[in-house]
């Protein structure tokens, strides 16, 4: 059934889905709960107990099936046992013993008992005397010794033996059985043993029917399934020991008096009802199982029947509940419908319920109540109508009072409306003048003959003044009769004109009294409370309106003032903007004076509202026209350009140049201060203002603006023009500065070019000099070497013995040649260094060791002069990272000089010390004559030699120190000398210290270091 259909049907039974259907639902649900609940409870109880009983019964029935299966199997085994016993009782065996010729009996046994596959007749000693198999020939050598077999031992005691199940070919279950062979009862002469093929039990098991899908099977103690309708289960050696039913059946000492049943999992894993029995002789469990669904099929059918019955009962209960509910609810529904109709406004409707019970009484009472409601409703309606009218009037007055900001027409209209609404003959409205503290009539309506209206009341004067002062209405129903009137009235006007009714109501706003409404009627009347409240309300509505209008007026005044201020601000802003534009032009075109002055002039003319004008530049003697306005006549233009205009008193321009201040006149021809030329008149000029351009109080120009009408320039305009003139002065000054800067820049560039050319020439000359020195030195060195060696040969006597004089001369030649060779070497070194052809081969070496080496070299020379050569102790690191040969050359030169210039018995001290982590400083200090301060700065120059008196003339050419300086500087070091003339000198230089990072490498860094080496 569709949901919508269901709801439709439910509505037929009162389930409208709306709130007023609730009673039906309640009835329905109570019925269903009571009757249905009872039925369900009894049904469930019935189902519960029946289920239990049925399960028990089914278990018992299936247990019986298991019992029957057990009996069949037991019977089968017993039959085999009986056949074996029958064979053992054979006369042939009894008579003939176990002779092989008597094997007929065994053949017969195999014939009658197909399950026996082999049989053996064993004598009393356990020796098989006869053996027969269905499938094989048992050869004598294959005969078994049975003496100790359990089968023989048990059967020889007179009891049948049933062995455990074993499997042949890995799959076929067999059982060993043995019975005693007795000559006569109690006289056992041997044992008959048989191997029983249990596959034959399959036939029995297969034929056991347990319901439709039930089955029986047998499980041996080992857990092997030994019989099952599906023979594959046996042949495949299925194990069943894990099943609950097998565990229970084969539990120790089961002693099952009767079969038991449980619900558990079967061999296939399905849920089954399993019954089991125990076969004690064989130690087997016989299991009978049925699928649970099939086993409990009758139970389920029974439960289904019970369910159907309960459902039917519930359906009947439902119908009954609906019927009863409708009987009860119908009158209630009629009552609800009637009430709903009345609720919608039909107060003439009456309920017609004739049930004769409480509901009918209820309906009658309801009808009475509706009648009373109707009456009350009518009264209420009248009141509402009246109130609505009042509110409309009030609204009318309020709307009038607020629809405009023009007070007098509003007050007039309000006065008329009040008169109309209350049916009065005269109305007046007085408003309080807060300054004068008096009330003035602002509107009047109705019959107000001349002299009736008093225009002004002081506060507290008359009825109007008192009402305002007290902020309370004063009402006279009949002035003719009311004694208070004579007491309070000032003019007695109302009484005089014949009005009888007089009322004054104060007009209030925000707690202040703003005025009053005074009204009169020809007839005496009484104001009801509602009328008085209405009139007061009207007055209260007028009050805020008056207040608002006053505020509006005030706002208008303030707005006008703000607009004026705003206009001024806008003007100022415009001026600032124009000034900013001028500044921008000045910044962007600092050298274009004409452009800047034109911009300034144009803005000044526009902002100051001039008709024409001109801007002049002052050249120190006279004004020169720079920017004229477009509308200047050619004649005037010619006048301004051609004639010299110098500072003077005649015109504002000249006067401004003279007085260095802004000069203004509203009418130049009327102003006695000026005597303008005729061209002014021809141009029709009247008002003139001239502002000088001043830079540090120095006149640089002027701006002149003119008007053709005698309208003076305002203070602001004059001030603005002055500002423009100041900016123009800055522009003029800037131009001058720029021009000056440009001139100087050009001059500097010219100097630079000259210096560069000179430098290039010098560099070329230096290069040519170095090249010349290098070439000449090489050329000189070769013959010198020849002279040296030849002189040495002659001195060595190669050319024969020499006279003393010859030897002396030759020695002189040799020494001169050696000296000349040193000089040439120095020259060569210097030229190589300067030519940049020498390179450094830095190594790590000890500076202290080097000092010792140099000392050793120069020691003989020092000792000859009794000079003490000393190496001061070295503090800290003295390892240098430098070109050892070059530093040796520097040291030799410096120490050599020190020894050379130090007088006999003097002292030369050498010292090396680290200056920082990266440099070593080596110093050589002597006790020689020292160096004059003026020469100290020149001694490192090439070919420079000191020539002061008293100092030994150097035998060199002045290159040693120059070479030393260059070598030190090649290492990045510095060389210097400190000397006190007459007290010795101290030369020092710096060399790079050994780079410490190379001695403290980490393992990883070391690898990199070695790799990069």
């Amino acid at each position: 059934m569709q949901t919508t259909e269901l709801f439709a049907k439910l509505r037929l039974f009162g389930f409208s889905g709306r709130r007023h259907g609730k009673l039906v639902r309640n009835y329905f649900f109570i019925f269903v709960a009571l009757i249905g609940g009872g039925m369900i409870a009894s049904g469930l109880t019935e189902i519960y107990f029946r289920s239990h009983e049925a399960r028990e019964q089914i278990g018992l029935v299936q247990g019986e099936a298991a019992n029957a299966a057990l009996s069949k199997i037991a019977q089968y085994i017993l039959t085999i046992e009986g056949q074996m016993k029958a064979t053992s009782l054979s006369q042939r065996i009894a008579e003939g013993g176990f002779e092989s010729a008597r094997q007929f009996e065994l053949m017969k046994l195999l014939y009658v008992a197909p399950a026996i596959s082999e049989a053996a007749a064993i004598d009393g000693d356990g020796v098989p005397r006869l053996q027969l198999s269905r499938f094989r020939t048992i050869l004598p050598e294959h005969a078994t010794d049975y003496a100790k077999s359990p089968a023989f031992l048990q059967a020889s005691q007179g009891a049948t033996f049933f062995g455990p199940v074993y499997f042949v070919r890995g799959s076929e279950p067999y059982l060993t059985m043995a019975v005693p062979i007795e000559e006569y009862p109690g006289s056992v002469i041997g044992v008959l043993q048989a191997e029983v093929n249990l596959s034959y039990i399959w036939d029995i098991v297969r034929d056991i029917e347990v319901g439709k899908a039930g089955y029986a099977y047998i499980v041996a103690r080992s857990g092997d399934v030994i019989a099952h309708p599906n023979i594959s289960m046996v042949l495949q050696r299925h194990k069943a020991a894990h099943l609950e039913q097998v565990k229970s059946a084969l539990r120790p000492a089961p002693n099952l008096q009767k079969p038991e049943s449980i619900v558990t999992r079967g061999l296939n894993g399905d849920e089954v009802l399993s019954s089991y029995a125990y076969l004690p002789n064989l130690d087997w469990a016989v299991i009978v199982e049925r699928p649970l669904a099939e086993a409990y099929e009758p139970l389920y059918a029974s439960l289904l029947r019970t369910y159907l019955l309960v459902t039917i009962g519930l359906g009947i209960a439902l119908l009954a509940s609906v019927y009863v509910a409708r009987r009860v609810v119908r009158p209630l529904e009629a009552l609800r419908w009637g009430v709903e109709k009345i609720g919608k406004g039909d107060l003439d409707h009456r309920l017609e319920i004739k049930t004769g019970d409480e509901i009918e009484i209820l309906a009658e009472q309801f009808n009475k109540m509706v009648g009373e409601i109707k009456n009350s409703y009518q009264s209420l309606e009248d009141k509402v109508q009246q109130r609505t009218k009042e509110l409309a009037a009030l609204f009318d007055v309020t709307a009038t009072a607020t629809h405009s900001f023009d007070l007098n027409p509003i007050l007039q209209e309000v006065a008329e409306k009040i008169m109309d609404i209350f049916g009065l003959d005269s109305t007046r409205i007085y408003l309080l003048d807060a300054v004068q503290e008096e009330l003035r009539v602002r509107a009047a309506s109705g019959y107000n003959p001349a002299g009736f209206i008093q225009e002004v009341f002081a506060l507290g004067q008359g009825i109007v003044g008192k009402a305002v002062e007290a902020a309370e209405p004063i009402i006279f129903e009949d002035v003719q009769k009311d004694p208070r009137y004579a007491e309070l009235s000032h003019s007695k006007g109302s009484k005089g004109i014949g009005y009888r009714f007089f009322a004054t109501v104060p007009i209030k706003a925000k707690g202040r009294c703003l005025g009053a409404i005074a009204c009169n009627g020809r007839l005496a009347r009484r104001l009801t409370e509602q009328e008085l409240r209405l009139m007061s309300s009207m007055a209260d509505q007028i009050g805020p309106a008056i207040d608002n209008i006053n505020l509006f007026e005030e706002l208008k005044e303030k707005t006008a003032a703000l607009e004026t201020t705003n206009h001024e601000l806008m003007e100022a802003l415009e001026q600032q903007t124009e000034i900013a534009k001028v500044l921008q032009v000045m910044a962007s075109s600092p050298t274009k004076l004409e452009t800047v002055l034109a911009t300034i002039h144009k803005n000044a003319l526009r902002l100051c509202e001039g008709d024409s004008g001109a801007t002049f530049v002052f050249d120190g003697a006279q004004f020169r026209l720079s920017v004229p306005t477009d509308n200047i006549s050619p004649e005037a233009l010619s006048y301004l350009r051609d004639l010299p205009i110098r500072p003077g008193p005649e015109t504002p321009l000249r006067r401004a140049g003279l007085e260095l201040r802004t000069v203004h006149t509203a009418d130049i021809f009327a102003d006695p201060r000026f005597s303008p030329p005729e061209i002014y008149r021809r141009e029709g000029l009247s008002a003139v203002v001239a502002a000088p351009m001043l830079k540090e109080n120095r006149l640089v120009g002027a701006i002149v603006l003119t008007r053709r009408e005698p309208r003076p320039f305002t203070e602001g305009q004059i001030s603005l023009l002055t500002t423009f003139a100041n900016q123009a002065a800055i522009a003029v000054d800037n131009v001058h500065l720029f021009q000056e800067l440009e001139d100087r820049t050009q001059e500097l560039a010219r100097y630079n070019r000259e210096i560069q050319l000179a430098n290039e020439k010098l560099t070329e000359l230096d290069r040519l000099k170095s090249s010349f020195v290098s070439n000449v030195s090489h050329e000189l060195k070769t013959p010198l070497t020849a002279i040296e060696s030849l002189a040495e040969n002659i001195l060595d006597g190669v050319t024969g013995p020499l006279t003393r004089k010859q030897a002396s001369y030759m020695t002189g030649i040799k020494e001169s040649a050696e000296r000349l060779a040193r000089l040439i070497n120095d020259l060569l070194d210097l030229s190589v260094i300067e030519a940049g052809r020498t390179g450094l081969k830095p190594t790590s070496f000890s500076m202290a060791s080097l000092l010792h080496e140099v000392t050793d070299t120069l020691k003989p020379v020092a000792e000859a002069k009794l000079i003490d050569l000393e190496i001061a102790s070295t503090n800290g690191n003295s390892i240098a990272w430098a070109d050892r040969d070059k530093i040796t050359q520097v040291l030799t030169n410096l120490v050599g000089n020190a020894v050379k210039f130090t007088p006999n018995r003097g002292k030369v001290t050498m010292k090396v010390s680290p200056t920082s982590g990266e440099w070593l400083e080596v110093s050589i200090t002597d006790t020689g004559p020292g160096i004059p301060p003026e020469e100290a700065s020149k001694i490192f120059d090439e070919f420079y030699q000191m020539s002061q008196p008293g100092r030994e003339k150097s035998k060199g050419v002045g290159l040693g120190l120059a070479i030393s300086k260059k070598l030190v500087e090649m290492h990045g070091g510095k060389i210097q000398v400190k000397s006190i003339f007459g007290s010795g000198s101290s030369f020092s230089f710096t060399v790079p210290a050994h780079y410490p990072r190379q001695t403290s490498l980490s393992v990883g860094e070391k690898e990199d270091y070695e790799y990069t080496r």
Partner: protein, 327 residues
């Protein structure tokens, strides 16, 4: 006999009509694979048919037969290849070891039920009897390799004077050495002298037996059963003529082809049981899940008429113990 003929007629009719017919859904399609053409010589087919009928199969409705045969293995193989292409096959039933070998080669994925196979484990048809692990299952003819010796023992029990036995076997096949050794051991124990008589055809067997000297007592012929000896009628006639007791392969040969005696499983029962295998496979079981079954019983069947013809008197005891005696 009447029942057997009726079955055979229906079977032939079904096989003829079934050729090329489209299988119906839910219809069991069985192909009988046999070497030779004479299905009458295969009693297990009748048993199979009755077994399927017992299992509610109705020929032409829920059961379709087709027979594929061949006089030689090569012919059978060729026919099988052709025949299997023509229709859907649910189960192939092979009627012997040779047929099983051929069927397995031609259609290795089709379930095969052998009815019977001599020794399926040694033939490589299955891994073990309990767990085949292959696409083949069915029933064995023998229980184990000692069965031949038992047959010789029974031969001796029936004819106590037996002292010389000619063993007739298919010279093209190599008998299992274990079986032969056990057979020879039993012969030795029984005091029987064995003479091998290999042949390549049934006719050759007949000729060789006809050429044997007439030895009224002490001699006998024992047939090592194989596909070659499905039809032994001529051999039996030759043996009878030569007064030689003939030990045959099965009860059918004793009953229908004048063989003196046999001690073997009942082929009809074997076929009847085979129906269960076919049914299970058709209903979804896999052959590897179905253990190979061995015969539970050997039948002693004696043709006393033939005994009389060859001048042999069988003892009353043996006749009494025989399962069936034909006169």
């Amino acid at each position: 006999m009447t029942k057997t003929l009726r079955h055979l007629g229906l079977l032939i009719l079904a096989a003829t009509m079934g050729l090329g017919a489209a299988p119906k859904p839910g219809t069991l399609n069985v192909v009988i694979v046999m070497e030779g053409r004479n299905i009458r010589l295969q009693p297990q087919v009748n048993g199979l048919r009755d077994g399927l009928e017992e299992l509610k199969y109705v020929e032409g409705e829920t059961l379709n037969w087709q027979r594929i045969d061949g006089e030689t293995q090569a012919e059978l193989r060729a026919n099988l290849k052709t025949g299997l292409q023509k229709q859907r096959v649910d189960v192939m039933v092979t009627l012997g070891t040779t047929e099983t070998q051929v069927a397995r080669e031609v259609a290795p994925k089709t379930p095969i039920v052998f009815l019977p196979a001599a020794d399926p484990v040694r033939s490589g048809f299955v891994h073990s009897l309990a767990s085949p692990r292959t696409n083949l299952t069915g029933l064995t003819f023998f229980t184990d390799s000692a069965n031949l010796g038992k047959q010789l023992e029974v031969f001796k029990q029936v004819i106590p004077s037996l002292d010389k036995v000619r063993v007739l076997f298919d010279g093209r096949l190599k008998p299992f050495s274990e079986s032969w050794n056990k057979f020879a051991a039993v012969a030795a124990w029984l005091g029987i002298h064995l003479i091998e008589l290999p042949v390549a055809s049934s006719a050759e067997a007949s000729r060789k037996i006809a050429a044997l000297p007439n030895t009224a007592s002490g001699g006998g012929v024992f047939v090592f059963c194989s596909g070659l000896f499905k039809d032994v009628e001529d051999i039996a006639l030759a043996a009878t003529k030569q007064k030689l007791p003939l030990f045959g392969c099965n009860a059918f040969q004793v009953a229908e082809q004048s063989v003196l005696l046999s001690y073997a499983p009942d082929l009809y029962s074997l076929g009847y049981r085979g129906a269960w295998f076919v049914d299970r496979i058709f209903k979804g079981a896999k052959p590897q899940e179905l253990p190979v079954e061995t015969p539970r019983k050997f039948e002693l069947v004696i043709n006393n008429r033939v005994a009389g013809e060859i001048g042999l008197k069988i003892s009353a005891e043996m006749l009494m113990l025989a399962d069936r005696v034909f006169r």
